[in-house]
């Protein structure tokens, strides 16, 4: 099976934007070990592209920013988590794009800017 066919299988494993367990079980039984590995990788990538990860310095999922983010990424699943090392602000991971709006990143940039 070609990688493109496996990719199509991974895309087809979704029913109404969520992973269909029945389809996945049926497909996985028909694949070889190497194909299954590739299938899992495609599923992971698809899951990643449907999820937006929001890391906040202080977790508050009910504030205005969180509401606004949910509105902004309405077609995606928004997951919140806390990381105090960010000091202030947040980090947003949308598939392979990372947005840094936090003090930790600003300080790191400042240090590398001065060093450069």
């Amino acid at each position: 099976m070609t990688p493109k066919q496996i990719k199509n299988l991974a895309i087809g494993s979704y029913t109404r934007d969520s992973l269909d367990a029945k389809k996945v079980t049926r497909i996985s039984k028909l694949l070889t070990r190497a194909e299954l590995k590739r299938y899992i990788r495609f599923l992971k990538n698809l899951e990643q592209s449907k999820t937006v990860e929001v890391i906040m310095s202080k977790l508050d999922t009910k504030n205005a920013v969180a509401k606004e983010l949910r509105k902004m990424f309405s077609g995606k699943r928004v997951e919140f988590s806390e990381d105090k090392s960010l000091i202030a602000g947040m980090k947003l991971i949308d598939n392979d794009i990372v947005y840094d709006f936090n003090l930790k990143n600003t300080f790191e940039n400042l240090v590398s800017y001065i060093n450069h």
Binding site: P3, I97, N109
Partner: protein, 507 residues
């Protein structure tokens, strides 16, 4: 108190350009690492030839963009990159930092110093890949590049902005011609009105000991004062060997944009093609003839197209390229040699037979050609070179015929004798380039028939002593010749008289 104020001011000045805005970056994950070629997923916004940075600080360049993956070549020997490591785009295309302080330095492909001196900072970032100047910005080749080698300056002249290939088997003096040309730029710049040339020597896939010898020779002769050496030795990764000539031309473009004339030597493009073949095979690109990828022609054409003579409205600078190609068993019809021959504006073909017969430089005048250089040749040399080339061609034809040992008529014998002396006069020791005036005198000696009654074994000594004699006793005559104009009748008579006077004292 004043000091602390100054420190704060300096810090404020430093920070004035710093942006506190949130930044976005495109990240990916390493999926595979094979022989310095990395396959990474993510990086959906990556550009072709974009610099990417790995978690351990190693750098790479994007060479393949697939639907789900991109292939990256590593720019250093980093072996610690593993599956699952993160990689991020930098948003900048591969470039080299160039400034005037690069002159006299020995650097790596990305501008990192290799001579123990500090890193060059504050220069202009010149992109390694750039579209060559268009036809509107160019002008025809019209100014000579003096190599200081009689055979080349007389028969295969090179002009500023030209691409002249040096081709031949290994160990028969290809690099020597390029090095002599670089060394000669020192005396060429002393001529009134001549613009000095900046030289860039790009060593690709060579032994470090050979490179060290070349650098030492350039230092010894004072040529490093106007030369930049870019090194991607045999022990460097194939990626750096592949990028080295582009770094060389990027450096040359910096000086060319300032209106200066630059000479770039690519030593050699055969090894460059090997490095690119290696990368392409690891990248799983379809292999073609001799396992080279389909774009091997474009690899060299896009590099050599960047050799240019700009018109006055665009600064008037130029880049002259001297690519070197190493042949196997003298086969110039192999894949890479034919490609580069068709791209360049002529070739200097070196023959192992001539080299072994003691004719050095071993230039095969019959197969060597300069397609645009004659337009740049000075009138003085042109006035004697045409005759010499014709006599040499006739000699080569007759020599094969005469080898049967049959009786020859007087005219044929004369032509053969003249030919032998022409071959003798074109011999020249390595690292001893001649100024144009002396080159003219040498060629004049043979074409005027002055050497006809000199024994062949004495021709070289006669030439050398005649040069010394002229430098000592006829400096005014040499000054008159240095203008490059075609010598008038009166001047020719004076040269003939001087030659006669010297001949009497020659024993």
């Amino acid at each position: 108190m004043k000091d602390s104020e100054e420190i704060i001011k300096q810090l404020e000045k430093k920070l004035s350009g710093f942006s506190t805005d949130g930044a976005s970056k495109n990240v990916g994950v390493v999926e595979k690492n094979t022989d310095g070629v990395i396959v990474a997923s993510g990086l959906s916004k990556a550009m072709m030839s974009e610099l990417v940075i790995f978690a351990n600080g190693a750098q790479g360049v994007v060479l393949n963009l697939d639907e789900d993956y991109c292939s990256i070549i590593l720019l250093d020997k980093s072996t610690t990159i593993q599956e699952g490591d993160s990689v991020k785009t930098s948003g900048i295309l591969l470039s080299i930092e160039v400034s005037e302080s690069l002159i006299g330095r020995v650097v790596g492909t990305l501008g990192d110093p290799l001579d123990g001196k500090p890193k060059i900072k504050g220069g202009k970032h010149m992109p390694l890949e750039r579209i060559a100047a268009g036809v509107i910005q160019r002008e025809p080749v019209n100014t000579p590049v003096k190599t200081g080698i009689k055979a080349i300056d007389a028969m295969i002249p090179i002009g500023r902005g030209q691409r002249e290939l040096i081709i031949g088997d290994r160990g028969i003096g290809k690099t020597a011609i390029a090095i002599d040309t670089i060394i000669n730029q020192k005396q060429a710049s002393k001529v009134k009105g001549a613009k000095p040339m900046i030289c860039v020597y790009v060593a690709i896939g060579q032994k470090q000991s050979t490179i060290a010898q070349i650098i030492e020779k350039l230092r010894e002769t004072g040529a490093m004062d106007y030369t930049i050496v870019i090194v991607a030795s045999a022990s460097d990764p194939a990626a750096l060997q592949y990028l080295a000539p582009y770094a060389g031309v990027a450096v040359a473009e910096y000086f060319m944009e300032k209106g200066q004339d630059v000479l770039v030597v690519y030593d050699d493009l055969t090894k460059h093609a090997w490095a690119y073949r290696q990368i392409s095979l690891v990248l799983r690109r379809p292999a073609g003839r001799e396992a080279y990828p389909g774009d091997i022609f474009y690899l060299h054409s896009r590099l050599l197209e960047r050799a240019v003579k700009m018109n006055k409205e665009n600064g008037g600078g130029s880049i002259t390229a001297l690519p070197i190609i190493e042949t196997q068993a003298n086969d110039i019809s192999a894949y890479i040699p034919t490609n580069v021959i068709s791209i360049t504006d002529g070739q200097i073909f070196l023959q192992p037979d001539l080299f072994n017969a003691g004719i050095r430089p071993a230039i095969d005048a019959g197969n060597s050609v300069s397609r645009v250089g004659t337009a740049a040749q000075t009138a003085a040399i042109k006035s004697v070179a045409g005759k010499m080339r014709l006599e040499l061609a006739q000699y080569n034809n007759l020599a094969a015929f005469a080898s049967f040992g049959s009786d020859l008529d007087e005219a044929t014998s004369k032509q053969l004798e003249r030919g032998k002396r022409t071959v003798e006069i074109l011999k020249q020791p390595q690292y001893q380039p001649l100024p144009e005036t002396l080159e003219y005198l040498s060629v004049w000696l043979v074409t005027s028939g002055t050497l006809d009654d000199i024994a062949i074994e004495n021709v070289s000594r006669f030439e050398m002593e005649f040069h010394d004699y002229m430098k000592r006793k006829e400096t005014k005559l040499l000054d008159e010749l240095s203008g490059g104009q075609k010598p008038h009748e009166e001047l020719l008579n004076k040269i003939a008289k001087a030659a006669e006077a010297f001949k009497k004292s020659f024993s």
